[in-house]
Symmetry: C2
Subunit: 180 residues, 2 copies
């Protein structure tokens, strides 16, 4: 961030009055440009004993498997975002969404919010961001071919809970950058 998006002037990087950390400040128009974490919203689409994964047709992690998930958009609730991503990436309409997990990825300024959800029918197809979409039971999951650590964590937590038969809301920190 070098230029003011409001007036086009060069930005300074310093601590504003009454603040405790440096920000990008426009000395011409006075605007402070904050940078804040982004939310990634997604789902675990469930059909009987299986969950739905997508193989990525885009970078990063082209060819690797993921749950449908993506950045929350302005004007959208986290639930609406998870439904939209699932429709876009997996061609699937999910129902009965239940908040399942919040994972902090502070090292990349992201917060994942994941839902459990039902597939009313085993209907899905690869959107333009996916090479293929398939249902997997736990022992079929391509654990070494997953795209992101947050997806790995979601699937581990989910299948652990499935075996126990108890689904609680998870909140955890992911600190390892194994996926980039």
């Amino acid at each position: 961030m070098k230029y003011c998006s409001d007036c086009g002037a060069r930005l300074s990087y310093r601590i504003p009055k009454n603040d405790d950390r440096p920000r990008f400040i426009c000395d011409r128009c006075g605007v402070i440009h904050y940078k804040n974490p982004n939310m990634v919203v997604g789902s675990i689409p469930i059909w009987q004993e299986s969950i739905l994964l997508c193989r990525r047709a885009i970078e990063p992690r082209y060819g690797k498997w993921t749950l449908p998930a993506g950045f929350l958009e302005n004007g959208e609730t986290v639930e609406a975002g998870a439904k939209r991503e699932t429709l876009e990436e997996a061609g699937a309409s999910i129902v009965e969404l239940k908040p399942y997990a919040l994972y902090n990825l502070a090292f990349i300024n992201q917060v994942y919010i994941m839902f459990r959800a039902k597939l009313p029918e085993p209907l899905f197809n690869a959107g333009h961001e996916s090479l293929e979409v398939r249902l997997f039971k736990r022992h079929e999951v391509p654990w070494n071919e997953l795209a992101f650590s947050a997806i790995h964590k979601t699937l581990q937590d989910y299948f652990d809970d499935l075996e126990k038969g108890i689904f609680s809301f998870h909140m955890d920190d992911i600190v390892q950058k194994w996926d980039y």
Copy 2:
């Protein structure tokens, strides 16, 4: 958003290739500038039957009461953000944080994430963003003098759960703009 923060050129506002909604695009350097929702993180600091509220010393809603809460910073987990805001605004160190609620305020592109938390001692003081900080039982809460609808909702849900003795994770949409 008028100018590219990377190169200073004038921005266009149009739908990028392979996208479905308009974005701010720099035709000179090619960067797409996404705008995404922000997270507000905060806590319900609990001491015995009471919770801690702060009276705001800043705009918006100067003079109104709120739970300690503020924007999540880059590099921070939601739990760390809630602790920091509670220390900054209420001079209080909270412990035993439990995820309590997620509220969507899609009309202002915000997601609130609130924790229940214990005050180990009734120790607190007004930070520079607060005029005063005080403990309130349910019947003492200044319901008509609260700063934000998300805080009103948090307090209602909390005291309802307290009466029932059951605390579940809440996820709800707040659609009314009563507080601005």
